[in-house]
Amino acid sequence: MRARGLNKRFGERQALKDVGFEAAAGELVAVIGPNGAGKTTLLSILAGIQAADGGEVETGAGAVGWVPQQAALYRRLTVEENLLLFARLEKLPDPRASVEEMLALTGLGERRGEIVARLSGGNQQRINIAIGLMARPSVLLLDEPSVGLDPRQRARLWEFVSGLAGRGTTVIFSTHDIQEAERYGNRMLVLADGEALFDGSAEELREAVRGEAAEAADRDFETAFVAYLHHRGH
């Protein structure tokens, strides 16, 4: 996936300013930044939910899967009914087989008949992700996927997502959790006030901080990240 010169304006506010980046197959790219940085706007433009005011997005062959921050599913339907509905809407050749595959993937096979509203937030998020994966996308966009999950569910989620990337799926995810970005992202794109400030690995970001605030660079990654933003006026 390649994005070039993306711009987006909401009224007076410039949500994205000339943002660009590339992500290769199998790469895990973390989009991080403070609140209002433009993370969700960027992901929704990449997903085709919103149109950019300027710039372009290129995707390779294959579908782009999108998992929104808030679970986008029908809470009054069962787990199975939700998966089957989206499998049918995706026009998959064998919807029921795809449902079985997703149930196995999410580990919710035994709860297939349960109404989604009765499931925990973590389990709802698993179905949310499963729906995004239904069409076997070559690029998966995850907007704050671990919000509301307990540590065990979170670990399971990343194990699952890392597995997808290992099989060649490009994964671009936004997160507020800087440690999570460091741990699971191969690369990170730092956004602040709609601008892309940094695009590189966690180590590269630390190196950038080292020249500005050496003591912060050697502490935890979150401290290094805050120092990086601070030195750039954010």
């Binding site: 929104p68 599913l73 009054r76 339907l77 009914e81 049918r88």
Partner: protein, 450 residues
């Protein structure tokens, strides 16, 4: 689209309380409104105290006229509660048991009879009302005035009929019963004939001239008084109402009531269901996921309109089938009113989609749908002439912009041939479908992805 339709029906099935409310509430409202529209106001209860002696009759020139059945006539128009004293009448009015009391005093007939004497009295009846409720007081004034006008008319007609008989006797002659015996009245016509027969026998001269003048008078009086008979009868009711229906005929009240009930049911079910269902897509965050390639926005709107139309059609037909318990429905016109319900339902569903497009919460959109549908429905039932012309023009514009009134007109026309032409309302509904579909599309584009 079918999978989305299936999904919406599954959601509806999973929400039995909401589904029941969606069906039961409009059906109840529809039946209540239908009954209210189809039944006229109940007869007001009026206490009736008749102190006139039983054998009293209005007399004309000493002759007792047959009863004008005033009491029976009054009690046809109101529910008469017979009381036996003025005190009882007062108590019933004060307690609110009756709206008013009408007291016919003992001397009423004597006073009426005195009208034809040299010392006429003023016949009076007494009306007791409770003025604590101005609305009721006005209603009583109108009702009693109308009743007394009818009673006066009945008496005047009876007097006019008797007066005409006497006039006829003067003109044509006949037998007049007086104090148990019959007196023969010669009459002007017979008098003139006799005088004409005598006239040749009278020698020419002043006597014959005088006789000729009397004969002439008898002839003229007979002819002119002949005209006076119908004139006296007309005096009792000089103005007669001749009702001419212009601007189309109206369907029977029962048919209109069924149409009102059906349209109300259709409106609430479709508007609420479609608006709520569309808002639910956004409340569940599913809208962006659906419209990023799985379903087009137009297909989603189409599915919601189809859902509303189908569910509205089923509920409305079931409700109408239930209404046949109270009043018959013209099933031979099924095709016509089915078409009216389908097109009306589609227009109302599209209006619901336009409402649902602007709100992202089901509760908010349900409230909005109620706030729009209920007043428009009631405004659509305001008849011409019930309010001022300027206000009615405003109401006409408002009701023309929402599909309720054209749907009501279409269903009325479908149910009964006297309900008007079906084509006009269907065309109106088709235009509204296009307009609301555009509004819904614009609304979704403007609000849904935010």
């Amino acid at each position: 689209m079918r999978w989305l339709l299936l999904k919406d029906l599954q959601i509806l099935r999973r929400s039995p309380l909401q589904a029941a409310l969606l069906v039961v509430y409009p059906v109840l409202i529809a039946i209540l409104v239908g009954l209210a529209v189809s039944r006229g106001p109940e007869k007001p209860r009026v206490a009736f105290l008749n102190e006139v002696p039983e054998n009293s009759r209005i007399s004309l020139s000493g002759k007792r006229l047959p009863s004008a059945n005033v009491q029976e006539r009054i009690c046809e128009k109101v529910e008469c509660v017979q009381v036996h004293s003025r005190e009882e009448a007062v108590a019933k009015v004060e307690s609110g048991d009756v709206l008013a009391a009408l007291v016919l005093p003992e001397d009423l007939i004597n006073k009426i009879n005195s009208l034809s004497t040299l010392s006429p009295g003023t016949p009076k009846v007494e009306v007791l009302v409770n003025e604590s409720d101005p609305l009721k007081a006005g209603q009583v004034d109108d009702k009693i005035s109308a009743l007394l006008a009818q009673a006066n008319l009945a008496i005047a007609k009876r007097i006019a009929v008797e007066g005409s008989k006497y006039l006829n006797l003067v003109i044509r002659g006949g037998e007049l019963p007086v104090l148990g015996s019959q007196i023969h009245i010669l009459g002007l016509e017979a008098s003139a004939h006799i005088l004409e027969a005598i006239e040749p026998a009278v020698p020419r001269g002043p006597l014959r001239v005088a006789l000729s003048q009397v004969t002439e008078f008898a002839n003229q009086a007979g002819q002119n008084l002949d005209i006076a008979g119908p004139l006296i009868k007309r005096l009792a009711q000089p103005i007669e109402v001749h009702k001419v229906a212009v601007g189309g005929s109206s369907p029977p009240l029962e048919t209109f009531a069924i149409a009102v009930a059906a349209t109300l049911t259709l409106a609430f079910v479709t508007v609420l269901l479609v608006a709520g269902s569309l808002a639910l897509e956004r409340e569940e965050n599913a809208y962006p996921r659906l419209t990023r390639g799985l379903v087009s926005c137009e297909a989603l709107l189409g599915e919601k309109v189809l859902l509303g139309t189908v569910v509205g059609l089923v509920v409305t037909i079931l409700m109408m089938a239930g209404l046949t318990i109270f009043t018959p429905i013209e099933w031979s016109r099924f095709g016509l009113w089915l078409a009216a319900i389908v097109v009306g339902g589609a227009a109302l569903a599209t209006a619901g989609a336009a409402l649902g497009a602007v709100a992202r919460e089901v509760r908010a959109v349900s409230l909005l749908a109620f706030m729009v549908t209920l007043p428009v429905a009631f405004l659509s039932l305001v008849p011409a002439g019930a309010v001022g012309k300027g206000l009615f023009d405003v109401i006409k514009v408002i009701t023309a912009l929402f599909p309720f009134k054209p749907a009501l007109e279409a269903i009325t026309a479908g149910l009964d041939p006297s309900g008007g032409a079906l084509g006009g309302p269907l065309l109106h509904l088709a235009i509204l479908i296009v307009a609301y579909a555009i509004l819904a599309r614009v609304g979704l584009r403007r609000f849904a992805r935010v």
